[in-house]
Amino acid sequence: MKYFKATSLILVMILFQITTSFSENSENRQEEPARVQLLLIIDFGDFMCFSCLESFLQFCYSLPHQFQDQYVWGVVIFEGNIGSESEDIAIKIVEKKIRGFRKANRVRFPILVDRSRIFSSLAGKGTTVVILKGEDQEIKRYIFPLSREQIAEIHKTIGI
């Protein structure tokens, strides 16, 4: 529990940094952090699996546009050798593929590549949605594919 609280505080700080460094949707974002943040940690390996991605996309489409614009972030995690020149190229390749995926699937929220390998520990076995809620930043995690009950539970938690 202590580990998760410490991690959540670090995560909020990181999200603050990410928020201010975004140029793409920054004009749509509030300056103060919202009480609810939805973080989608996407395993890049799932891009080879249509059914894995489809569950993820259906969940994204279930979120109101305004909510996606303001409170949702995506981070892609992937395997590779940290710090190598080849990894730098690999990251750029992943970023390019994500760019095509976002556009083709009309994904509204920004998706970053986890260059610093911070988010891998938060992810479960595969693509994961992490809800940060409230002033004490309570964390809830759900691993894809999501059941209808889980989707309803998430919607209730984030108040939509």
């Binding site: 891009f47 249509f50 190229i89 690999a90 760019r99 095509g100 556009k103 083709a104 699937n105």
Partner: protein
Amino acid sequence: MKIKNCTLFIVVLGLMIGCQPQKKGEGKLGQVELEEVLSIGSIDDDAIFMWSGVAADDDGNIYVTDMMDYSLKKFDPSGRLLKKAGGKGEGPGEFLAPLALSCSLERIYVKDQYEPGIMVFDKDLNFLRKIPSRRYISGFKAISDECIAVTYLSVLTKGSIYFINEAGQVLRKFNYMTKDKNVMMGQVNMEIDADNNVYLAYTFQDRIEKYDGEGNKIWTRNLLDRKKVEKKMVRGLNLPAQIIYKTIVQDSLGRLYVLGGGLSKNKGRDVYVLNQEGEHLTTFTLAEDSHLIYFDSRDNLYARANSGITLKKFKLHLKTI
């Protein structure tokens, strides 16, 4: 005198052997050099996000299926994007995961990974129709505008190749494997030449075969010392865990090029070159692993680079020994 006669006999015999006409594609090959002549797609542009299938027409135009943006794209011989079609969906001309591609004189055929049947487009990427299929098509090759050779996914290993028309009707069929063995072992990659000879490189076996147009086996070859693929249990089925051969293609001289998979020395990069008699001429290695290779009508080789965001076109320089 006897020695002189023997010497003369040997000389004459040597001349006779040396003057025999060279069969097409024969002769051991030495080093193969790949000269890159075109590269489409890079980190900095949006030409290709992840190509899965490739084909080229006789004018040098290049057709590509892109899995990341669910599209079919046409590039001119210089690599300039001419047109993009498709989009995500299950409607006419739309894709969920566009995979394999083949072209005939006037038609582009596309197989979606998650849809049965084959979609038919014209050279301007206009969707024309869908060739229906009740079974899942695992591989196909366009023979002409009126005929396509297909293989179906089969859990059992009774391998057959069906030649169908655009209405999906079977024109003819031949069986290449009639003994039941283990699950999935009959999956093949195929190439068909102008004389209707069929060349098969098995996906999960160290086995390459040639059949004539009547379905008679001409030869079988094993390039990897008959290494066996590992298997793993999945839902009660003992399934192969590695791919042995990924593609088989042919150049205009009849030479066969087989892309090796997980059991090759350089996984996904070794290309074995054989002549039409199945003799192994040489092996060369691509710079990066590729999921397939393709030859156009001008003997240019196409392969993957940069994890699929780049399509490279090479001219081959083959040196005979």
